[in-house]
Amino acid sequence: MLSLIVFLPIIAGLVILAVPSSQKQIIRIVSLLAALAQGVLAVLIWRGYDPALPGITAGPGGSPLGSFQFVEKVPWISLNLGGFGSLNIEYFLGVDGISVTMVILTALVSAIGVLSSWTIQKQVKGYFILYNLLASAMMGCFVALDFFLFYVFWEIMLLPMYFLIGIWGGPNREYAAIKFFLYTLFGSVFMLLVMIGLYFSVTDPATGLHTFSLVAMATQTNFNIPGAIFAPENHLWRQIAFIVLFVGFAIKVPMFPFHTWLPDAHVEAPTPISVILAGVLLKLGTYGMIRINFPLFPEVFQASMFVIGIFGAINIIYGAFCALAQKDLKKMVAYSSISHMGYVLLGLSAGNSEGMVGALYQMFNHGTITAMLFLLVGVIYDRAHTRQIDKFGGLASYMPVYAAVVTVAWFASLGLPGLSGFISEALVFVGAFSSEITRPIAMVSVLGIVFGAAYLLWSLQRMFLGKRKDDAAYDLVVGKDGHEHIHFHDWNGKLDLDGRELAMLVPLVVITIFLGIYPMPVLGMLTSSINKLVQVLALPL
């Protein structure tokens, strides 16, 4: 099941390879079918998932079964190394509470991304091949339980992303693409060294051999090689490894001060890639922290909760301030992403169940809400060919449906009660306040909500309320019926949202509202895993 959901897009990509490049519609439909099939599989996984099993570490008897679900484990590579026995790499997939929510999110956002890619006209074939490769790699990252496999998927993501930004992006795309590539590679190459070091420090209790299995690594008693680089008594190297991994993942999140690639990448990327980037890719950073960074080095995590919290708070407030200063709508949304990922960091730093559940729920909600925000930015950019906030005004009266969806998305983003963002942010703050360590940070971070409301409401007001400005990106025309309409210069489509755009946005709006009223479908899947994780992290050493 998991193999299928991971490799479906790649299969679609191979099919597309055989389609002549003039058949654009067939290429799009093949991709859409793959994405929908992925969605069906995600629903099946969701329905078949047993929330009682915790995951995180191995179940009884050291076996992943009974703890992880949908496990697929076959030996992949077995290398004979001189003097060091053998190198064993497994093709090891499985989900627990923290990954199953991300799997569902990835399937959802990938499908919406395909719909959003319908407007791509340039080199459609190459675009969808790369898009499908990216979709596969993202999904693979979330279900891989072998560090080596995770790393392979993690790195495979970079190249398609580079080309997707670099070929189909905006005017400054070369700079943005290589900046993204260099930043993320810089983070991940150090991860490679840590990965090798971990391999030589850990044995799998079931076989007694060295292993890349993240499940085995999450149990501290498996670090049983005396003198190994990450053995429990090797405090210095364990701290270094924690920092290196943390920086690697933090670049992806992106955490201040490693965030500067994100606004560039977002501004240049085409809409669907922004959606994928904000909706899924950023989550990989925090997911990596939860899956790898924290449980493997819990004592270092305990020692660094305060620092992580500080960085979270900086992200929240700094991101909000930056967003407040932006004139470009997409850049504002990009900075709001940085701000909202700060809540995830803050929730994680609390180290208790409430904070961690809030963080994961925030990851899910941020995925759906920012996907929506970027889609909405794309909608207006398609029509007006500009994203400057001050080029708009009074849109609400001319594009009422668009304005309504924008309002829902904007309010969800600022955390209005009744919408999903509120619950996750509230949980994060509950967690952060109830932890002695992060309480002062939480007090400061609450300000972020105020600033968040400020930039969102202000942009809403400037763009949608009031009247058309003189230098606006559209003209006013009086229609035959005597009413005033607006007209975008090179836009011949429907003025308000058309069917395809509604098909992308409505599911997200429904999810946002539903999860704001009744969050249990997601929270229910999370709780047992998170409780287990908190237990693992709090392990006395």
């Binding site: 590579i77 077995s78 290398l79 004979n80 190394l81 001189g82 003097g83 060091f84 190198l87 080199q123 190459g126 790393y151 392979v152 790195e155 495979i156 970079l158 190249l159 580079y162 080309f163 670099g166 070929i167 795309r173 070369e174 693409a177 290589i178 590539f181 260099l182 590679l185 810089f186 190459v189 150090f190 490679l192 060294l193 090798i196 070091g197 391999y199 030589f200 003198g227 680089i229 190297w237």
Partner: protein, 511 residues
């Protein structure tokens, strides 16, 4: 004074030579092929066809049978300790023959030869001669033999580098290659003479025993090692013996550039590993050494310098061949990392890296040739918009470059993984060097990606959108190389097992 050997001694010598010849069959076969090619060239003079190339290909392919038969022979010394046969040597025999085959295939694709030269006769014969020389380099166990085989490789290399004799750049390349080669050979021989002076031996195994038994003066020893390294460092193209390589790589015919950068470099590594592992296996010096320097420290400096210099200077290159030249300096640095580890895993990692380097570097140069056939240029600027015009070549080149950076799922990633694993198994001792390797590979991403950047992200200056057809055969070869690069990146067990099997060097036991 000199005494004539007695009859019985002469009988013994002859019997020993006769016994040794049985271990020398692939070399004899290749020498015969060399002569055959000259005769074929004479007979078929003036005919415009691929007869010579095909004869070379078949002949080289045939030699693998003889090499394969040598697996049955026991590892050992012969020809009075001049020459050895072991799994390590066999690995390189295959390696050189295969790279010669690829070099011939690449040459057949290169249209520049049609324009520049009338006769290809000596060309293929010289490639075969170079294979013989490199095989002998990898199998030499005696200082004299090392010198002779290295000169054989160098001389053929000089001629091949200047094969476009009416092209000033090619002649310049040959001359530079010659001048640097002569100087470094001279230095190396001086180093050999110092070693002979200390030990009174020329056989490297006996040198090792002698040094282990009696020790040596550390100052003389470090000087000798440094001088010998000048010779080997020239062959592998490591900093600071690299000055020839950018000019030679840029000026030589591209197939020769690829051949030199893969095979000749590998031969240098074979020699370096065998010489240092066997003759100075204990790291070189007794602990009371005042200088605190041994050949391992020297190699460490070389390695770090090569990685940093090669990767940083490559950032400013505008010519793709020159860019790949600097990248090959950097890769010499990565390969040296594996040697530093001084154990079986390290050797295995180095050999594996050589195999991966073989695939990706030949692949990259092959695409460069195909592109240069169509555009007549190797400048980065002229690569603009080529991704659309030749989709397969563009995709393949991207895969090879990603592999050179060392990203999964390519064989280059596994090569780096094994090298770094070998370093880290030594504990935290070598972690700082591994860090340099990691950092520089991030830098390398930038300049390698300049090529796909130009191919895909930028539009060509001319607006003609017609696609360039590369022809059937080159496309198939490219596809095979690309798929192998990816396949061995995911399922690398066979390559790795072969590298492990080949890490057995006669005369020492690595841990």
């Amino acid at each position: 004074m000199f005494e004539l050997p007695s009859g019985a001694e002469i009988q013994g010598i002859i019997a020993s030579i006769q016994g040794s010849v049985g271990f020398f069959i692939p070399e004899i076969y290749l020498s015969a092929l060399f002569m055959l090619l000259i005769i074929v060239d004479l007979v078929a003079k003036g005919r415009k066809n691929n007869l010579l190339a095909i004869t070379t290909l078949l002949g080289l392919a045939g030699s693998t049978i003889f090499i394969y038969q040598q697996h049955a022979l026991p590892a050992g010394e012969f020809f009075f300790g001049m020459y050895v046969l072991d799994e390590f040597a066999l690995f390189f025999k295959y390696f050189f023959v295969l790279s010669a085959i690829v070099a011939v295939v690449v040459t057949m694709a290169d249209e520049q030869f049609d324009r520049e030269v009338k006769s290809m006769g000596e060309y293929y014969a010289l490639i075969v001669a170079m294979v013989i020389g490199m095989i002998m380099m990898a199998s030499s166990a005696d200082l004299l033999m090392i010198f002779l085989s290295m000169e054989l490789v160098s001389f053929t290399g000089y001629i091949l580098a200047g094969y476009f004799k009416r092209n000033p750049r090619s002649s310049e390349a040959a001359l530079k290659y010659l001048v640097y080669g002569a100087v470094s050979s001279g230095l190396m021989v001086y180093g050999f003479s110092l070693i002979y002076g200390i030990t009174a031996q020329t056989n490297i195994i006996k040198i090792g025993l002698e040094l282990a038994a009696h020790g040596s003066d550390s100052l003389v020893m470090i000087l000798a090692t440094l001088l010998v390294l000048a010779g080997f460092g020239y062959k592998i193209g490591a900093v600071p013996f690299h000055f020839w390589s950018p000019d030679v790589y840029e000026g030589s015919p591209t197939p020769i550039t690829a051949y030199l950068s893969v095979a000749s470099k590998a031969a240098g590594f074979a020699l370096l590993m065998r010489f240092f592992y066997v003759s100075i296996p204990h790291g070189g010096l007794p602990p009371e050494d005042k200088l605190g320097m041994d050949w391992l420290s020297l190699l460490m400096i070389l390695s770090v310098a090569s990685m940093i210099y090669g990767n940083v200077v490559a950032l400013w290159q505008k010519n793709v061949k020159r860019l790949l030249a600097y990248s090959s300096i950097a890769h010499a640095g990565y390969l040296l990392l594996g040697i530093l580890v001084m154990d079986q895993f390290g050797t295995q990692a180095t050999l594996f890296y050589l195999l991966s380097y073989f695939l990706m570097n030949f692949g990259a140069f092959y695409v460069v040739i195909l592109i240069s056939n169509k555009t007549g240029s190797e400048n980065l600027d002229d690569y603009r918009g080529l991704g659309k015009k030749m989709p397969l070549a563009g995709a393949a080149l991207t895969v090879f470059l990603i592999s050179l950076v060392g990203l999964p799922p390519t064989v280059g990633f596994i090569g780096k993984l094994m090298i770094f694993s070998a370093l880290l198994t030594k504990g935290s001792l070598y972690i700082w060097i591994a860090l340099v390797g990691i950092m520089t590979s991030v830098i390398s991403l930038y300049y390698y990606m300049l090529i796909p950047l130009n191919m895909y992200l930028r539009e060509s200056k001319q607006s003609d959108e017609q696609s360039m057809n590369l022809g059937m055969a080159p496309q198939i070869i490219l596809a095979v190389l690309m798929i192998l690069t990816l396949y061995f990146g995911l399922f690398f067990t066979p390559l790795s097992d072969f590298a492990k099997y080949s890490s057995a060097i006669f005369g020492i036991t690595l841990q």
